[in-house]
Subunit: 371 residues, 2 copies
Amino acid sequence: MPPVRKRTRKIKVGCVEIGGDAPISVQTMCTTRTTDPRATVEQTLALATAGADIVRVTVPDDESADGLAFILWVLSSSQNPPPIIADIHFRHDLALRALDLGVDALRLNPGNIKDADKIRLVAREAKDRGIPIRVGANAGSLHTQFLDKHGGPTPEALVESAMWEVELLELEGFDDIKISVKHSDPYLMIESYRLLSETTDHPLHLGVTEAGTSYAGTVKSSVGIGTLLAEGIGDTIRVSLAADPIEEVKAGKAILQALGIRREGIDIVACPTCGRVEGDVITIAGEVEAALADMKSPIQVAVMGCLVNGPGEARGADVGLALSKNGGTIFRKGQRVREVNSSEMVEALLDEARALAEEEGDRIRLPIVSG
Amino acid sequence: MPPVRKRTRKIKVGCVEIGGDAPISVQTMCTTRTTDPRATVEQTLALATAGADIVRVTVPDDESADGLAFILWVLSSSQNPPPIIADIHFRHDLALRALDLGVDALRLNPGNIKDADKIRLVAREAKDRGIPIRVGANAGSLHTQFLDKHGGPTPEALVESAMWEVELLELEGFDDIKISVKHSDPYLMIESYRLLSETTDHPLHLGVTEAGTSYAGTVKSSVGIGTLLAEGIGDTIRVSLAADPIEEVKAGKAILQALGIRREGIDIVACPTCGRVEGDVITIAGEVEAALADMKSPIQVAVMGCLVNGPGEARGADVGLALSKNGGTIFRKGQRVREVNSSEMVEALLDEARALAEEEGDRIRLPIVSG
């Protein structure tokens, strides 16, 4: 049972709904140069295959806008291309150009396009085309107006900066908006979104910005994004790592999976192999995870090393193996299926998992809970 | 600024305080057999060196109790051995034996020692020796009494099971107690501890049980433990992975670091290298992290690829590098220090970080916030 979500308004980025009762989507961003359309298209499609629901590309200059034109044209003839968001900083004219090119959404940074008239012009053009805008405030690039007022990139400064731009957009009757208030400190990020969520019912895009290298960045993002999702806050997420963006997608999906928000593929419950363990849980769990890596059905497989929590967890999972001396017991949907010896137990567990997936169909379960 | 912690009572496991204003400690558990004292002592000391504040060993039978005797004897002549907790299931006589052997704490599972008289006897013996007990309920081994009443391992069932045993201990005037209510589902774990925290002011030991393999298990634990810590709940933590327990310690420390609860060593803020990036952030961040891996001082180093958030984040960190065309700018404590070219910038950044660590002393900062 996933957390009950705070109800927000719904917007649509290309074919992907965000907010309201829409599934929480996973975003990422290309690391290729937008001036290299071939590499960017390739990466975009690889990210979509890895599970990215939406892909963002940066448009920092005219050459990148030229690249974007080509990228959108190539993607339009691809099978199931993900929606593309243009990331805009400093230059509102590039936002207008991206709209003209047919991008699925814009991201504007209130910290570096400061002219109200320019922002309102972008709002009018986006409104005419029915294209949403993310107002993306970031602790590293806050407008000095808010930094000075709050004495630094505090949660209040981030939220005020974002809401300043939201109100400008709304003055044009534009409300096709999602908002982010990212910070590189996970706890300040949590506090910022908690405050933002109390302030607005626009859908929220969650992320810990500049989270760092793959390991520490995944932990920071799991803590920051996970805490907010567990409190019912957040409609779309992006993990930011200094790593291949495939890692960002993997981490984003793992966070949603951890909270039961998205269930897809194998979920291993395995004990931490204390001195009670009656077999090699680490190896067995690794073998099972690898063998079922391509399975789409949301099957939970328990690999338990002893009799303390073993039978309980093994019974609770879809299929399970509880080890004992010289073998183990296979469970399926709470029922003891059979005793197996050591040499056959991994295959027996895989057989049960595959049989269950077959019976239930290779479906993907996306539980949606709103309130 | 870390989250404000809910105030709990304080207990002491060996030399390690838990609860109240004590730093949040990181625990782990040996995967060696307790019947193999040599391997267990070796692993215990390696875990302590890796940063484990407390180490648990399982005592499932008489041979393990014999091993425990030997382990405690060897550790008593080691330098700074961590406190040792004996993990007890099914047999209260092994709890009594562990107390006699001089263990620093017991863990009892209310799901499998069900006789009130036996539990009260253990409480009296522990009280006489001033040895604390963790009441450790676990979704995989709940007493049928609570499973039946609640229709499964729900948060209510876990909390009731734990509090049933806590009340038995308190009947003996024993209140040297910490409590855990672990679940393999991170959100049910979060809900269980939220309920437990409302129910009691005993210190809480947090963990997602049987979290699985290294990657998914680290994400699940970061989400589960991180959410509770961000809500001010939790006094000691243990990450449970089907992996080398060194990985558990690493993940536990990374979770505390992510929330600013513990600061020790290098913290990299690095941008996710979008198409705007002016240099190889991934490589530079990796090089810096590796070069400073042994540093104890809590130094935050920013490696930023462009001018959007770069200067802001680089200024906010202790030392920073914001890349630009053909080089970058080095920052220290918010001040621009100098411009560097590509060939010298990594060394220049490392020099600044090391100089700062030198000046500030090789100290470890442990911020403690309670309320």
